[in-house]
Symmetry: D5
C-alpha cells in the first residue's frame, strides 16, 4: 500500500497503469467476461471479488481519460432486442463526472462483437467479480501533465 | 467464477487451497504485513483492497481446520504494553464458529516474532488490504472428507 | 482437495474452469484424441486414466452451460459410413440432464474436421484415458449467477 | 497412451519412473498428504481422483522394487494410541505379491515424522485422491535387468 | 530404464510417444537431416549415435501405426535422376512387418520437398546418427486399444 | 506516468514500493555501490543517471517511514580516520523533515560493513548515478494509514 | 558506471546500443508515448524521470548516425492544424550538430501514424519522462569505424 | 577447449554447428551487420573482437560445404555504383580452397537486400568484430560422411 | 554431426565437454545409476541406449585426462563381499591406453558411497543404457594444449 | 560496436562491467580454467579464442582499479616446486602501468586454492582462450569519478 493511492490498486495494476501511454487502452471486465482468453496477448490482472465501480473510481484518480478523442470511455452496447436494464451505467457516468469535466458526454458504446475485437488489442484487461450485466468498461488513457 | 464457490476466491487462490494438504498452513495477512518479503519461499497471492473477514469466511467454506491440533487458527499476539484494541478478533471468532464446531476455542495466539518465523514457512500468504491492526490470521488445513 | 468439490478436479483444472468466462470452451478429450498437438495454443490438462463421464459430471457441478446458444455442448459427429456405435453419448446426455434443464436438447454435433478446428481454439483441452470411441465433448461455459 | 502400458500412467509419470535409477524413491501420497509442500525439492505429479492401489499396481508393472534392501516399500506407521484401522494395507500387500516374490515381507513401516523427512528427499511425489487414511506408500526402485 | 520397455527409448521420448494421439506424426530423422531447423515448432529429441532401425523397432513396440490411412509410414522419395540405392528401406519394411500385419504395404513415399513441409508440422522429430541416405521415416500413430 | 505521482518513480519501482510492508527496507544506493552483487537476493532497480536526493524525495511522498523504530532511515557511517565530508547528508535531512515530523532525529548511521550486511537483506536496492560519497540511504517502511 | 561513458547510460542501454548494427533504429520516447505497447516486439528500456535531450546527447557520444541515408534522425511531425510549438526540436538539432557534421540537415520528420508503425519495428524503445510534446526521436545507427 | 578443435569455436558455437543438418545455413557477420535484429528468429552467437577469416577457417574444419548446390558459400554483393574494394574476399577464397576442392568456384554473391532476407531465415548468425566492409559470409552445410 | 568428431557425441555433450576446464569431472553412468537425482546440481545428459565403452572412447578423443593427479579416471569399487565380476573394467583400461600413455595405471577406484558424494559435485553426468554392473566411470579433465 | 570503446568488449561484457560497483571483482580466466563450474553463482562470459592481455587492456580502459586496497589485481601464485615460468605476468604489469599509476605495485598474488575460493565469489568470470599457464587475473573495481 502507498500513501494517497487507493488501496484497491494492486502493485501490479499500479505498474501497468503507469506503463500505459497516451492512447493505450485498458478493459475493466465484469465477472463473466472471458478475460483470460480475450487477454492472451494482453496483460491480465485479477481483481476477483471486486465490483467495477470501485475500480473505475480508483483508476480515474491516477490516469486521465484521453482528450484527443470524443469517447475515451466505452461500454458494451446492449444487443438489439435484449430487454435487459443497465443501471450500473449511471453509476459509471457519475464516477466519470468526478474525474473528467466532460462527464457522461465522453462515454460511448461499442457493439458487442466489435468490443471483443477491441478488447483483444487492449494493453491490459482487469478481471473483476462484478455481477452486473453489460458492465464492461474500456478506458483510453490521455496525456499526463504533472 | 464457479457455481457455488465464493467469487472472492480467485482462480489461483482456489488452486492453492486445493493443493494444500493436511497440516499445511496459509496466512491471510493484513495490508501492512510484509507479505512479499516474508513469502519469498512461499506462494504470495494478492487480494488487494479486500478485508480479512470476507476472505476468512470464503476460505473456511472450502477448507476444514485441522482437528488434530487444538489451535488450527492463530492470531498475532498483541505486544506487551501495547494498548491497542483488536475488535476484529471477535469478528474472526464468529466466522470460525460458522464453520467449525469448536468455535473460538480453536483460535490461538502466536507471539509477534514467532508469527513471522512461522509465516515464512507457510505454504502461501494472502496479501489483503485489511486496515485493522493485529489482523493477520494463520490457518492450518485439516483432513478433507468427501 | 476441497470441501464440497469433486476430488477428480485437480487444482489446475479448478483454476482453469474458474478462469473461463462466458462463451469460453473446454474440450474433454478421449484417450486417443491428439490433445497435445491440438492444444498447442491452449492449456492442456492431463487426466490420464479417467473416463470422460466422471469428469463431465464433476465439471458440470461447477460451471453452467451457456444459455445464449442452443447447443452449448457438442460431440464429434460419426463419419459418414462408419458403422460404429456410440452408447457413451446416452451416458453423456443423462449427465447433462442432471445439471441443465434443457437436457439432451442442448447437445449438438460437430463434423469431425470442424471439431478439430474448433478444438484448436478452445481455452483448454483435458486429456483423459477414455477408451470409448467418438467420445470427445466440447463444452461452452455460461454465465455464473451467484 | 502406449501399447502394453497401463493408461493410468501419464506421460510425465512414465518419464519420471524411467528417469529414476537404482535406490531412487517415489511416494504415492493419499489425498490429504501435503504433497506440494513436502515436494518443494521434488517432482510433484498430480493424479487427482485416483486411488493409491491402481497406481501402485501400474507402477510395479514397470519398475522393480530394490532387492538390495529388505524393505523397499514403506508405509506410514500408525501413531501410538491411534485406534484407526488400515485395511488398505492388505490390498497393498496383495498387489506387491503380484510383482515381487518377497510379497508382504518386503513392506516396512516408517514412523510418521520420519516419513515426512524421507518424503522431502524422494525423487518424486504423486498426489492422488485416495481417501483411505495412513494410505501413503514409499517405493524404492531396484535394478532393471532387460 | 523400465521393465519391458526398450532401453533405447529415453524418458523424454517415452513421454512424447505417450502424449501423441491418433493421427499425430513423428519423424525419425537420419544424421544429416536438418532436424533442429525443421523442428522449430516441434519437439526435437536427440538420439545421436543411434541408427534409425533400432529406434523404429523400439518405437513400434509401444505405438501402433494408424489403420485409418493406407500409408501411416512414409519415406523420403529418391530425387528423380539420383542413382543412389536405399537398401535400408528393406530393413525398415522387415521391421514394420514385425509390428503391423499390413507389412510393407503400409509404407509410402513422400516427395522430398513435401516431406520437409510435412516434417515441420510433425509433433516431434528424432535426430539420430544414421549414416544411410534417404533414411528418414515419418510415422503416423494409430488408435491404442488396451 | 500517473497523475500526482512523481514521474521519477518508474512503473517497477512503484510496484516494489507498493509491495513493501511494515518494516521492509529499501536501499537507495549511490553510483559506486555494488548494487547488483549486494542485491543478488533482492530486487535491483536501475535508476542510472539520477541523484539520490530526488529519488528520496519522491519515495517519501508515497511511503511513510517506520514509527515503530527510532531510526527508520540510516546512512553509511564514515570510516574512522576518513577525512571526507558528507554535505549531501544535510540535503537528506531537509528532505526527511518535509515528510516526517521527526526530521533529522529519525536518521541514524550504520557502520560500513554492517551496512553491507543489512543491504543484502533489504527487499530492494535502487542503483542510482549519485556521485557524492557515503551517499547511500536505507529506508524502513512504516504503516500506511489511508 | 564506466570511465568516460555518460552515467545516464544504464548497463542494459549500453548493451543494447552495442548490439545494434548498421541501420538498426532506436526510439527515444517522451513520457506520454505508449512505449510498452508499441514495443511489444522490441526491447523496452525504462529511463523514467529523464528528459530526451540528455539521453540524446549521451547516446550520440557512443553511436554514429547512419551516413547512408539522408535523414538518420526523425521527429514525429506535428498534426495538420495543431498549433502546438516544439521548441525542444531546436535543442535536439543543437545536440546533433555537436556529434554529426551534417547537423540539422540530417533530421527529418515522419507523419504521426507512420511514426507509430516505424516505432513498432525499431530494435529498442527508450521510455523517458520527457514532458515536452512531439518530443519523440528515432535514430538510425551508422557504421562504427574504430 | 577440446583436443584438435580450434579454440576460437566456443562451446555454444560448436553445439550449433553440430546441430545443423544438410542445407542449414549460418551467417558469419561483420562488426556492423545488424546481427541481433536480423537474428530475432535465429540463434545469435557473439564472437566480438574476432575477424571473419579466422572464424571461417575454423568452421570449415568441422563442417563441409553443401555439394548439392553450386554456391554453398555466398557473399553480399557490392551495391551498384559503390566504388569500395573488397580485398577480404580473396582471403575468403583462399580459405575455402583449403577445405573444399571446388575452391573459389563455389563462392557466389547475393544482392544486398536479398542477403538480409536470407539471413533472417538462417539457422544461426555469428556476430564478429570484423571491420572490413562487405565482409559478411553465408555458409550452407553439406552432408557429413564419417 | 561434425567432420572428424565421433557422432555419438551429441551437440549438448560436445558443448559440455568444451566448457569443462582443468580438473572438472564428468561421470559416465551406467543404466541403473540414479543420474537424475545425483545430478540435481549438475548437468545431466541423456545417452539412453548407449554403452559406456563407446562413449568413453569418443570422449577421450576430445578431452585429455588430468596429468596433475595420479588417478584422473575412477571406477566404483566393488562392495566388500560382493562376488560380482567386472569384466567391463578391462575394456575400459584398453580404451584408456589408446588415449593416455599411462594406461591402466591412471585408473583408480572410489568406494561406493564416496563415489556418490563425488558424483553430486561433478560438472556433468551422462546417463547411458549400459547394462553391465559397477560400470560407472568418473573422468577428470586435464589441460588442453593445442 | 560503439564509438571509442574497444570492440573486444561484447555487449554483455560491457553491461557486466557497468553493473559492477566499488569492490566487485571479475576474473579473466585462461583457457584451461574451470570457468563454468567455478562460476555457477557468478555471471560467466565467453570470450573464446581471445588472449588475456587484449581483454585486460580493454577492460582497464573502462574500469578503474580499486585504490582502497593495495592489491586490486591478483594473479594465481605458482605452486611451490613448480618450475614453470610466467612471462605473461610481465605483459600484464605493462598493461596495468598504462592505466594505473601504481603500476606493478598494485599487482598481488593469491595462493592457488585460495584463488579458486575467491573466484567462486566474484561477480563475473570471463572464459578466454589464453594458452599461457598461470595466466588468470582477478580485478577489483574502484570508484568511478566522471
Amino acid at each position: 500500500m502507498l500513501k494517497g493511492i487507493p488501496k484497491i490498486l494492486s502493485p501490479e495494476l499500479l505498474k501497468v497503469l503507469c506503463e500505459m501511454g497516451h492512447s493505450d487502452r485498458i478493459v475493466i471486465a465484469d465477472g463473466n467476461f472471458p478475460a483470460e482468453s480475450m487477454g492472451k496477448d494482453a496483460i491480465v490482472i485479477r481483481c476477483d471479488g471486486h465490483g467495477v465501480p470501485e475500480l473505475l473510481d480508483a483508476i480515474l484518480q491516477v490516469i486521465p481519460l484521453d482528450t484527443y478523442v470524443d469517447k475515451p470511455m466505452n461500454l458494451m452496447e446492449v444487443m438489439p432486442g435484449d430487454p435487459v436494464k443497465t443501471p450500473i451505467w449511471d453509476t459509471y457516468k457519475e464516477i466519470v463526472a468526478k474525474h473528467d469535466e466532460r462527464g457522461a458526454a465522453c462515454v460511448g458504446n461499442i457493439e458487442r462483437f466489435q468490443f471483443y475485437e477491441e478488447a483483444k488489442k487492449a494493453y491490459a484487461i482487469i478481471a473483476t467479480g462484478e455481477s452486473a450485466v453489460y458492465a464492461n468498461v474500456m478506458l483510453q488513457k490521455g496525456v499526463v501533465i504533472n
